[in-house]
């Protein structure tokens, strides 16, 4: 198993009147090469789930094994390395750094890997070519449309060739046509062997994933595999 969480809780304000169980005893395994959609209503705990799986957050209780390693036992430095090399993130809000141009944004994870300038430039350009933005590398994020910014974010996520891509509502801020393109791109990555975890509240999008996990009030209420046409 690539990803394995056992009885994981994420509880905000535990013991208080206002206690929120964003994750309420979740158990889930994901295999290498899977394409999993995590779907649910607003507030059901989808983002919390991705943050835990992406080592951006630590669960209140429960174990998380990533590629056989218990994440709880890792140091902050080791977690940084995992985020840097194993996972590519795509966020709903793009999360680009505004003061850096497109190329610099895409190079950033490669810089933290310690890759030299020439290789870094080549790898970043390759990723930008894949998303069709090789011609706009000197622009600032603010000078680009939402769809273009999301493509920059995707280029940044794939520049390091991570085995896992995690996307939290990647199409949420985009029109349906652009959203569809992003989706197809994720499917393409999956065909090439990347494990993709896609968070969405949209049942239509969830229906295009071979596996669909439904969250409700922090609990998994459904976990089903389905036939899709793109495989």
């Amino acid at each position: 198993m690539l990803i394995q969480i056992n009885d994981v809780y994420k509880i905000y304000g535990e013991g208080l009147e206002s206690e929120v169980r964003a994750l309420d005893g979740v158990t889930l395994s994901i295999d290498r090469g899977e394409f999993v959609a995590i779907v649910g209503q607003s507030g059901s705990g989808k983002s919390t789930m991705m943050n835990v799986l992406g080592c951006l957050d630590i669960p209140t209780r429960g174990d998380y094994f990533l590629d056989g390693t218990n994440v709880r036992e890792l140091t902050d430095k080791e977690l940084s390395h995992i985020r840097n090399r194993q996972i590519g993130f795509i966020f709903q809000q793009y999360n680009l750094i505004q003061n850096l141009n497109v190329l610099e944004n895409v190079e950033l994870p490669l810089i933290y890997q310690g890759i030299n300038a020439d290789d870094r430039h080549d790898m970043a350009m390759e990723a930008l070519e894949r998303v069709g933005l090789a011609g706009r590398v000197k622009h600032r994020p603010a000078e680009m449309s939402g769809g273009q910014q999301q493509r920059v974010a995707i280029a940044r996520a794939i520049a390091t060739h991570p085995p896992i891509i995690m996307a939290d509502e990647p199409t949420g801020a985009l029109d349906s046509h652009t959203g569809h393109e992003v989706l197809q791109f994720l499917q393409q990555l999956n065909r090439e062997g990347t494990t993709v975890i896609l968070i969405t509240h949209d049942n239509g999008i969830a229906a295009t994933a071979p596996r669909c996990v439904r969250l409700q009030d922090g609990k998994i209420v459904e976990d089903r595999e389905q036939e899709v046409d793109w495989l």
Binding site: N51, G54, L56, D57, I58, D76, K77, S80, H81, R83, N84, R85, F89, F91, N95, L96, I97, N99, L100, E104, L108, P109, I111, Y112, Q113, G114, R156
Partner: protein, 417 residues
């Protein structure tokens, strides 16, 4: 991530947000420049007035005394001061000679007086090269001690010169230049109201900058009043005390002695004893007060500058918490974040500090020229002190919030607006 990368990253970040960078630097520039200017100017003023007082002679007591019967007071005062030798270093008449013409070769003090009159009539500024007439004094062998002069060439007036009515004189450095140029005056003979006087010595220059120089003087043995100002009795004297405390003691004893001489109600003559220390003290009090006030202003401006730096740093870091979250999410270690912010802050503060020092130096020199007409350079201590303080503030407030933000879970940092 290596250190070179960290530098590049910091540099890119500084260039990436020029507005923020300029604001941060502005705080530092203003802070350093204002503190430097204020403190350096006060410093320069105090040093200047200290120099003046020292040149005039510290611990000097001025005595005016005259008997109505016309008998000379100096011999009595001289003898009394000998008894006070625990407190008193020297005593001399302080008598200016008027209507005396000193001639050497083609130079004469009368001609120099003409120069002075012409200068007064014209614009006044052209007088820098003009030779002004020397001030001429009758003094004892202790004139130099009392007025803080030291012999540069030759010898001072001696007790024998006084006793034997020797026709000798000692020149101040400026007077020596005016009459002799670069030649050695010692041993030369000048004509004073037609009498030959031998120059026996030259005093060391006290104050090369000043035009109305204390160095443009000629001192004759006071017994020469016999031929240079016949019939004159001395009424002005200078007494040099050994220390500030001695000056207080000597002032009261001399007053007591003169009361005895002149009578309780000054029936036989008048006198007046004044210690220069008194007005030096009152000046010092004023200077201290000014230092306190201006020092307070400096402290406030540093505080304001410091708060400005702190504010902009804190604001940008809150603004940048999200950036820190993004960097952490894509794999930056805590140490990389802290290193980057440290280098950024140090670069900004360093550059700002250097510009601030440049402006501060300029402003200090301007203030010195315009306000007190002296040449001030900011002291190295003040410069480095202001620099170190501002950089410390900038780095502290640049790095502390960054270190704090880097300790957050990446998801919390990402949530920051």
């Amino acid at each position: 991530m290596n250190i070179r990368q960290a530098f590049k990253m910091a540099f890119r970040s500084i260039l990436g947000n020029k507005g923020r960078s300029v604001l941060t630097m502005l705080g530092i520039i203003i802070g350093i420049a204002s503190v430097m200017t204020i403190v350096s100017t006060i410093n320069g003023m105090n040093q200047q007035s200290l120099k003046q007082f020292e040149a005039m002679g510290t611990n000097k007591i001025t005595v005016s005394a005259q008997r109505y019967d016309g008998q000379d007071v100096f011999q009595d005062l001289y003898d009394y001061c000998l008894q006070l030798s625990d407190y008193v270093e020297g005593v001399t008449p302080n008598s200016t000679l008027w209507n005396v013409n000193v001639v050497y070769g083609t130079k004469s003090s009368k001609a120099m007086e003409k120069n002075q009159e012409n200068m007064g009539n014209s614009d006044g500024m052209s007088g820098t090269d003009v030779e002004l007439p020397p001030n001429m004094y009758l003094g004892s062998d202790q004139y130099a001690v009392c007025n803080n002069f030291q012999i540069e060439k030759g010898r001072d007036l001696s007790f024998l010169d006084i006793q034997k009515y020797n026709q000798v004189c000692v020149l101040g450095a400026q007077a020596a230049r005016n009459f002799f140029g670069y030649a050695d005056p010692v041993g030369q003979t000048m004509s004073v109201n037609g009498y030959p006087f031998t120059v026996v010595g030259v005093y060391r220059e006290k104050d090369p900058d000043s035009q109305w120089s204390q160095d443009n003087i000629i001192v004759f043995p006071y017994t020469m009043s016999r031929i240079l100002s016949p019939g004159e009795t001395f009424s002005e004297f200078s007494v040099k005390a050994r220390s500030a405390e001695a000056a207080v003691e000597a002032t009261s004893r001399i007053s007591g002695y003169l009361t005895g001489l002149m009578g309780q109600n000054q029936e036989k003559g008048y006198f007046w004893v004044d210690s220069n220390n008194q007005w030096q003290n009152s000046y010092n009090e004023q200077a201290t007060m000014m230092s306190v006030v201006l020092g307070g202003i400096a402290a406030i401006s540093l505080l304001v500058g410091g708060i400005g730096i702190m504010n902009i740093m804190l604001v940008t870091v809150t603004e940048r918490t999200r950036e820190i979250g993004i960097r952490r999410a894509i794999g930056a270690e805590r140490s990389s974040i802290v290193t980057q912010f440290l280098i950024e802050a140090a670069m900004l503060c360093g550059i700002g500090g250097i510009i601030g020092i440049a402006f501060g130096t300029l402003a200090t020199r301007l203030a010195g020229r315009l306000l007190i007409q002296i040449d001030i350079w900011p002291s190295v201590t003040i410069t480095l002190g202001a620099f170190a303080l501002s950089v410390a503030l900038g780095v502290l407030f640049g790095i502390y919030p960054a270190a704090k933000a880097s300790k957050l879970q990446p998801v919390e940092a990402l949530r920051a607006e």
